[in-house]
Structure formats: C-alpha cells, structure tokens
Symmetry: C2
Subunit: 327 residues, 2 copies
C-alpha cells in the first residue's frame, strides 16, 4: 500500500493528513493557522512542516515507512490554473500568480498536484464519503463562503477555464442582499456561516427573544453560525427559525442544482452540517417544493461524512486522478 499526503489550504487554517492510496485510512492529521498576512513564503514553510509532521506521525503511529509516501495533493482557494499548477488570485490569502504546486513539490521532495479546495472536498465525499461511487454529484462547501464542486462520471467538472462550480455565487434573489462579490442575492449572501450569523444578529437587533443575546453579552458582532446551531439544538425558538430560514435559502439554491443536473447526490460539506436534521429536514422539504419530481425522487440530499478531512482526502483523490490517471 502506498500513501499520499493531502493538503487543504483555507483562509483560516491549513489541514494536512496522510491517506492510504485506497482511501481506507487517514493518519497524522495536523493543522495550523494559515496566517496569510505573513506572506506566501511563511505559509509555504508551514505547509512543508505540516507535511513532514504528518508523514512522521504516520510512520510512528501506523508503521508506514517514509518511502511509501509518494506524493502530495493540494487543495487551494482559486481561481487557479491546474495545467501549470499556479494559483492565479486568492483575495483571502493575497496570492497572485503563485506557482504553488512546484513550490510545495520542491519543499517536500515529492510530486504534487493542485486543484480547487471546494472541488477537492466534494471529490473526497465522492471517493470515500457520503456520495461514494455516485455517477452525478453536486456538492456545496459551506463555511466562511460557499464553494461548490461538480463530479460527473468520476471526474471533477472544471469548465473551460477551471472556474466552474461557483455555486455560492448563483443568484436566488436577483434584487436581494448584497454579496461580497458585488452581485445581489447570491446564495452565499444568505447561507454562508457569516451570513447566517448576520441574519441572526438582525433579528436580535429588532428585539426578538433568544438566548443568543445573552451568549454574546450583547455584542452582536460575536454571534456565529455555530452558536445558532447550538442554540437551536437546545430548543431556542429564534435560533430554530434562523436555521429554518437557512434551509429555505439553501433549498432555492439546491433546487436549482437538482433541476439543472438531475444528480444522484447533493452533498453539503462544512460547519453548517452541525445543524443536523434541524437543517436537512426542512432543506429537503424546500427542494421538494421547488424542483421537479422526477429529479427530486432520484436525488439524495445529505451531509458530508468526512467532517474536517473531506478536503484532505479529496486532494489525495485529485492527485491520483491527475498524476496516475485513475482514482
């Protein structure tokens, strides 16, 4: 059995793990803050250190000799040029035309691959997670933003210039909330983590009763989406309403995907899955109301099964696909 290291670069954290080539095990999961403000060299140094730590831990804990680790798959925010292995532009990280693939490859002495972070997460769920083996898969990664990935016949669909799958920036209300991208009414402006927190805060400002107010000691800038899910789980009526509204907005976006792709699976990855059935039951209901029955009947709408590691595992799958030609 060979092993591959997966690297998942986020705006806040980098996560690294060493994955068996058949996807059956993930060892040595390590993470560190990205701290992009320190510049790309510092971030690259952290990535290289995390890769070495993960390989070392995998050797110690699972008895995997170093020479059985044969490559590194990298998932990064984009847009990027896969062919050349270059990150073209990442507003969150401040990178521009960074040849990330060769830089990481040289730093760790292993061949490397590069793909979009959301694509990797969805590909991981297709490979060994909630969408395992499904023919047509559409995925959303919901965190600070909303990313997307499309897997058709076992291949990530990249589009003509590697920027396909920007599901977070599909319009669900053409005259709606302003999105950070400059457009009005993007799904991301309603259902990303910060958008969920902002909607919750708006109701608190308006005077609604909720324990969220006490949780943040009146400082509404401290409300987070996670607090909303937790309050909903304890039965806070207002938090539950915010979660149900989230399901409505997500349902419009997911309904569009169901009508467009007629997929086998829509998989939702990221912090929002902590909301559990309180989100997924009304989400499925909304999609059922909005989309066509023959498409809805054939589509499972599920949370990811690889919390925290979908991006790492999927980066390894993209390495296999890009370098070995099969997953």
């Amino acid at each position: 059995m060979r092993y591959l290291v997966g690297v998942d670069i986020g705006g806040t954290n980098i996560v690294v793990g060493t994955v068996a080539e058949d996807g059956s095990a993930v060892h040595g999961v390590r993470s560190a803050p990205t701290l992009p403000e320190q510049g790309p060299e510092a971030v690259l140094g952290r990535i290289a250190r995390l890769v070495q730590e993960s390989i070392g831990e995998t050797e110690r804990a699972a008895g995997v000799a170093r020479d059985r680790v044969v490559g590194v798959g990298i998932g990064s925010p984009g847009p990027l040029d896969r062919e050349r292995g270059v990150v073209l532009l990442t507003p969150n990280l401040g990178w521009r035309d960074l040849p990330l693939r060769s830089l990481v490859s040289e730093a760790v002495g292993l061949p490397a691959s590069l793909d979009n972070d959301a694509n990797c997460a969805v590909y991981g769920e297709w490979w060994v997670g909630a969408a395992r083996g499904a023919k047509y898969v559409v995925g959303l990664t919901i965190g600070t933003g909303i990313g997307g990935g499309i897997v058709l016949d076992g291949e990530i669909y990249h589009g003509t210039s590697d920027v396909a799958g920007e599901i977070g920036h599909t319009t669900i209300d053409s005259t709606g909330r302003l999105c950070k991208c400059g457009n009005y009414g993007c799904l991301e402006a309603y259902a990303s983590g910060p958008a969920i927190a902002a909607r919750a805060a708006e109701g608190i400002v308006a005077g609604v009763e909720t324990r969220l107010r006490d949780l943040v000691g009146g400082d509404l800038s401290k409300v987070t989406a996670q607090m909303v899910y937790e309050a909903a789980h304890t039965g806070d009526e207002y938090a539950l309403e915010v979660v149900r509204d989230t399901a409505k907005f997500l349902g419009a976006g997911v309904g569009n995907l169901v009508n467009i792709f007629n997929p086998d699976v829509v998989v939702v990855v990221g912090g929002v899955t902590m909301a559990g059935d309180q989100l997924f039951v009304p989400l499925r209901g909304e999609v059922k109301r909005r989309a066509f029955k023959p498409a809805v009947d054939r589509c499972r709408i599920v949370p990811g099964e690889l919390p925290g590691t979908a991006g790492v595992v999927g980066a390894v799958a993209t390495f296999k696909n890009q370098v070995w030609g099969e997953v």
Copy 2:
C-alpha cells in the same frame, strides 16, 4: 451521402426536415399544427405524413433517392425514458407512457431515436450552429416555456434520470412570481414568451404610454412577446423597457449558468432572439455584472443560428449519436 429526417414536436407545431448526414443541408422542411387534443394517434399520423412529404420533397428538389434516407431523429417534450424510447408524461400534449420511438419507427419504416426537444435544439446549435464545436455549451430555448440543454465534450448531459437541464425552472427570485410549475420565481415566470407578454400587459394596465395598447385595440390578452420586440424595434420606449427588463431577468439566470458551468458558449434559441441586440447587449451587460470575471471573459453569449430548424437538425444529431455512436 446519407440523409436523416429530424422531427421536432412542439405543443403548437410539428416541424420536420431532411438533413444531410454531415449537417451541411436541410431539405423539405414541413410543418403542421400539432393539435394534441385529437389524441396521440392523430398526432402520429401527422408526423408520419410530414416525414413522407419531407422525404418526397427532398427527392424532387435535391435529387436524393429515398433509399439514401436511413433514419428518423425525434425531439419531444418530456420527461422521457431515452433507453426505452418512451415519453413518460407531457402535460402540454396529454401523453403518458407513449412508446413514441417505436410508433414513429413502425409508421415510417425507418430506425428512430428519441430525445428531449430542448436538448435537440441545443445539440443542433452545437453541431452546425452558433455553438459549433465548442467544448462546454449551455443553451436555453425560449418560447411558450423555457427549456434547456447542456452539451459537454460533444455529448448531451442527461443526468441520472434524463431530466437534466430544466433551466427554465431555476429560481432567480425565491419569493417572486408564481410559475406554472408551482414554484415561485422561476426564470420561466419572467422571461418566457407569455411571461414577457404578461409583464408588458401589466404596465399597460398601469397606464403607461405605448403603441402596444393600440396594436391590440385595448384587449391586453392579445399582447404577445413578438409584438413587444417589434414595437421595441420601432423605438417604442415602453416596449424597450420590457425588453431590457427581460435581459435583466435572463441575465440572472444566465449568470448562474456561467458561474456553475464556466462554459465556452451560452446559446439562446427561440422567438426571443428576434429582439436582437436590444436584448443581447443588456443581457451580456447583466451577466458581466453578476458572474465571475474569469468565467465571463471566456464565455460567448449568442443567439442561435438555426432559427426554426435547430430542433430538427439537433434531432438528427442525436440520432447519429444514439444509433451510430458519433455525430
């Protein structure tokens, strides 16, 4: 050179033509009212007659012997089961579980294929029209409703149960206009022919000045989308506003497709293309405002080049793909 007959079945008209196998010529284009209320047997009789007329006319006008016509491609409203060649359900035609492919094949004595009408129209534009040879193509067919077709790497994308591409029923305003499908805020509820006419009529009711009012002698149920385009071409300010609003709504839907598919071409087929630059210029502007620059920069947004025959030509291309394995 062999020839194939294309059959495009619409709710209002059936169009049939005989197409050279390389797509270089269309002969004997014939059409007749569908008259679905007379039942499927009557419609089938009309289809068989139109096919024979088209073949006969092609023989007379272009000297193509009958035995060089070797198959029939059929495009029909769906949903349908391509594998079995069965139309599952068409609300407009009143058909249910109709084995259309074998019925037509037996009636005309030629092998036949079946695919969705919108898929056929977009495939035709990919084969020999405005999206000729493009790798990733998304198309909208705008008429009584809004259909869609997706062509990836030269193949129609059908999804897991043959109902992919329902672009007309993607939500652009989740609390917006009620659509015939029961959903709120579908693209079709704003930008189909009848929706354009309805929006125009709403303004006339509200007292706006326009020659549309005189054109219909005060009977607003007689306003059609075509009247709106014609009035816009003559400089009617209100008609122009209706066209520009149409471009805004369409732009939200097309922007979503651009962000999701990162396509080479978005092709718009159907009566709405009569509006010409008055529609397409603001449409491209709206997409540019809404979608991501790297995707917008790579995407042409164009009217179809096969007015009236895209469905016929595309039905022939789907026959070649399904029966011969290549187009």
